[in-house]
């Protein structure tokens, strides 16, 4: 911007006009994070600027409803709320176990499907043959069934490897770091075919 002052002044006034309209689209984030330009996401609310397919929490619950593994993936401090949601979903699973739906194929009884949608979360469940339950909470608005099934299959494989550790005591919490890493990578790649 090393032109003559008059020209740069005019440019400056034009610049303000453009900047105003741009600023109208920028929205400041809470917690002092950088502004995320929403030029491409016109009309969408701020929350959707996050990855839309996001798993916020996964849990492994033993057959006596004892928690074996709990991991949340958001920085928000409503981790307790997520744990509470998972706890409530255990009731739904118990209902489904006791009153099995006779309709539909009983081949893949492992995948329980959508347990119940709350506010802006969806909770999915998966039951292994040893009555160990996997629960997944996601903020996704339109999640594909196939994606969830794939997720649970990979999660099940990671769980089996963690349990095969001779130093793991069945019934106690899973303390394996390798398991935590694998779960993180599975969560990151969830629905990766359609992430923004």
């Amino acid at each position: 911007m090393q032109q003559s002052p008059a020209r740069s002044e005019a440019r400056y006034s034009v610049g303000i006009g453009v900047a105003d309209s741009l600023l109208a689209l920028f929205r400041p984030r809470t917690k002092g994070k950088a502004w995320i330009p929403e030029l491409r996401l016109r009309g969408r609310p701020a929350a959707a600027a996050f990855a839309t397919k996001m798993i916020v929490c996964v849990a492994v619950v033993g057959h006596q409803n004892n928690p074996l593994y709990l991991q949340s993936f958001t920085e928000a401090d409503d981790a307790l709320k997520l744990h509470h949601i998972i706890h409530c979903s255990l009731d739904v699973i118990d209902e489904r176990i006791n009153n099995p739906k006779k309709s539909g194929p009983t081949l893949n009884e492992a995948f329980l499907g959508l347990l119940y949608p709350t506010e802006n979360y969806k909770v999915y469940g998966y039951l292994t043959n040893t009555k160990v339950k996997f629960i997944m909470v996601t903020t996704d608005l339109d999640v594909k069934d196939a994606d969830v099934r794939t997720f649970f299959r990979r999660f099940h494989a990671a769980y089996v490897d963690a349990v095969s550790n001779p130093f793991h005591v069945p019934g106690k919490k899973i303390t394996s770091k390798a398991f935590a890493q694998r779960v993180s990578s599975i969560v990151k790649s969830f629905g990766s075919a359609a992430t923004t």
Partner: protein, 186 residues
Amino acid sequence: MAPLAPRTGDAVFANVERVNAELFTLTYGAIVRQLLTDLEEVEEVNKQLDQMGYNIGVRLIDEFLAKSNVSRCIDFRETADVIAKVGFKMFLGVTASVTNWDPEGTSCSLVLEDNPLVDFVELPDTCQGLYYCNILSGVIRGALEMVSMKTEVTWVRDMLHGDDACELRVKLLKQVPEEYPYKDDD
């Protein structure tokens, strides 16, 4: 000699009876867990694993020599090659590589990139001093003793302690010539 051994290892492996690797891994894990529960001291468990390996090795060497038909080794280098290529392949299904020879040729490193014993295993914080695969060092020591070589086997790298491979240091202490219990003359 060396070029023949890798093929021999695979050929022998194809002919011996095999067992499911996961069964083997889980059984070994159960043994180690039980030893830890019984002995409680990590050092004791290490010693016990070594002793168990020694007992296995003195019996294993006969089977190995019978099944693999290797000829008599000329020197320790050839011995190490045979152990790494034929022995490990035959019994564990993986080949090791021999590296880091010292100038006298009496000490070398056997490196295992892939060790079926440690699949799925993660050492807890209370057992960080445990040499989980110590049975292997006992096996090598016992087997070589039966062919008149006194050796000392130590661990250099261990996958469970964060390294990328398992490395055993095998040192030949002395070669004990065969002793006959009776004299040849009169």
